[in-house]
Amino acid sequence: MFPTKSRTDVSAGRFDWLTVAFLLGAVLLCYYLVPLLALVLSQPPGVIIQRLTRPTVVSAATTSLTASITSAAIASVFGLPLAYWLARTDGRVKTVVTAVVVLPLVLPPIVSGMVLLTVVGPNTFIGGLAAANGLQLTRSVAGIVLAQTFVASPFVVITAKAAFESVDRSLEYASQSLGKSRLTTFRRVTLPLAWPGILAGITLAFARAIGEFGATIMLAYYPRTMPVQIWVSFTTLGLENAFPVAVILVGIAVATLIVLNVLGTNPLE
């Protein structure tokens, strides 16, 4: 291993590129942090707390949390098996499937909403069938969940895939050679070792879902989620009225980072 700092470098008094690099990067850091602090400090805490208790804010927070937890759960139920399959499969099919999984990440969210409307919209076969059975796939919590799952589930698949791949296959072979079934091997060897990465993926998916706006507004303007409520407050009552909900979302983002760092497997690092 190379030493991180040599005595010669310190004593020679050379031009310190590392400090220059940090100072340049600090400009970007300020660009991230100043607006966030400005948002949090823009109004007295008492005013923000007072506005947080308004029925529209409480309703938006409840809808967002309910839908995001559901989306993250759906993404996990279907995403984890896909992630495991991708981690244990080789060849061209894997490349194609991975590309399909990544597609919602690179697609503009508003386009994702349009794409979903062509499948689950009120005038489509699936949308019509669901509506006939009493389930509205648009302008409903179901619509929000569909939009959030579409854009957030790739985080579960990609992160969990990396977590499964990090589990050496020889450990699974060793377990099976000791007489354990594939299911037991998965439960007792693969899952415990991949779990921090899987949990990180689910956390990321939840954070992405709760902040989803573009696809959600196309599928379900009502009931309002927090991002939609921010948009409505901003366009009708002005920026200040959008602050309380925004503060909640910032809090959730910070909590997400804390969870990821506690897990020790922040995939964004």
Binding site: S170, L178, G179, S181, R188
Partner: protein, 347 residues
């Protein structure tokens, strides 16, 4: 008994087999260079990879199509493949819930003191002992080991070699030990199989493979660097008279007069003397020459000698104190003798 018949597997860039192999309750060392198909053979027998053709049967039961977890085949990997989230005790207990069994194998492999530690805190040797204890605790009918000593330091490897030899002997099940290290193969194996390009070149006792290689590849791979073309001059009752350049050699292997054969002499079998030494040896198996160069390899010396009467260079190994008693340096004159039994003929 393990029986492998016409086993084949085709990959994009590598064809394995057909391989035929029978392993009784003994240790078979599979020796070969990297990429020769050693691990493929192990993977096929273990059930990690499905063969394209051929059969594998253990104690009369056909293993083809039988899932890995039902083969009763113990697998030990190069890195141990211990479950890092479990202690050594839990690793062994994973295979055997019976407490006595854990104690028995921990005691047998001298790992009682480390049972409550997790694998990352164990040394390489301890990890391999735990891996072996875990595998044996599952009471396998067949034991497959994929270079488990390869990543260990030489002193630990030597010690484990000795211990494993007695352990394997006591198991009374077929054991296949894959390695690229000739010393490990000969130390552990009752028989050695040499693998090359997905096929078995030779199977035999370790000494037979080293002293009587079947092919040039086996000869070179087992350290027989002295390979020369020779003409069979005469086939006598129990000896064969050969000629290499102007040197006459007697060998005990039979060959038809007038044919050309390849001589194979292991460096350790060649004796080096002072220019006037070696008189007690048969004239026909003695030659004079000059040392071209020598180098130290561990505790022995590898010496290359250019012969006067033939355009060949003999490579020989000399161990102390013989080396110290000879005035050897580049340019020194020496006399070499080769016992007839040390000359093996490849056709």
């Amino acid at each position: 008994m393990l029986e492998v018949n016409s086993l084949t597997k085709t990959y994009d860039t590598f064809d394995f087999g057909p391989v035929d192999l029978t392993v009784d309750d003994e240790v078979l060392s599979i020796l070969g260079p990297s990429g020769s198909g050693k691990t493929t053979l192990l993977s096929l027998i273990a059930g990690i990879v499905d063969p394209d053709g051929g059969t594998i049967s253990l104690n009369g039961d056909r293993l083809n199509g039988c899932p890995l977890q039902k083969r009763r085949t113990g697998l030990v990997f190069q890195d141990g493949a211990l479950f890092p989230h479990m202690t050594a005790r839990e690793n062994i207990g994973y295979a055997a819930t019976d407490r006595d069994r854990i104690t028995k194998f921990a005691s047998l492999l001298e790992i009682t003191d480390v049972l409550d530690r997790r694998p990352p805190t164990l040394s390489g040797g301890e990890q391999q002992r735990v891996a072996l204890a875990r595998t044996l605790a599952a009471d396998p009918d067949l034991l497959l080991l994929d270079e488990p000593l390869a990543s260990l330091d030489a002193p630990i490897r030597r010690r484990l070699r000795r211990e494993l030899h007695s352990l394997f002997t006591s198991l009374e099940i077929p054991v296949i030990y894959v390695t690229h290290d000739q010393r490990t193969a000969t130390a552990l194996g009752d028989r050695t199989a040499i693998v090359r390009d997905g096929a078995i070149e030779q199977v035999g006792s370790p000494m037979a493979v080293i002293n009587r290689p079947a092919t040039r590849f086996v000869a070179r791979f087992t350290g027989n660097e002295n390979l020369f073309d020779a003409t069979v001059v005469e086939q006598r009752e129990d000896t064969t008279l050969l000629r290499v350049g102007n040197i006459r050699l007697q060998a005990t292997t039979a060959a038809a007069a007038g044919t050309t054969v390849t001589l194979c002499i292991h460096p350790s079998r060649i004796q080096v003397h002072t220019p006037n030494g070696g008189d007690d040896c048969h004239d026909e198996n003695a030659a004079s020459g000059t040392i071209d160069r020598w180098l130290t390899e561990g505790n022995e010396y590898r010496v290359e000698i250019g012969l006067d009467d033939a355009p060949i260079t003999l490579t020989t190994t000399i161990r102390p104190p013989s080396f110290d008693q000879l005035p050897l340096e580049a340019g020194s004159r020496v006399r070499v003798t080769i016992p007839p039994a040390a000359i093996h003929l490849l056709r």
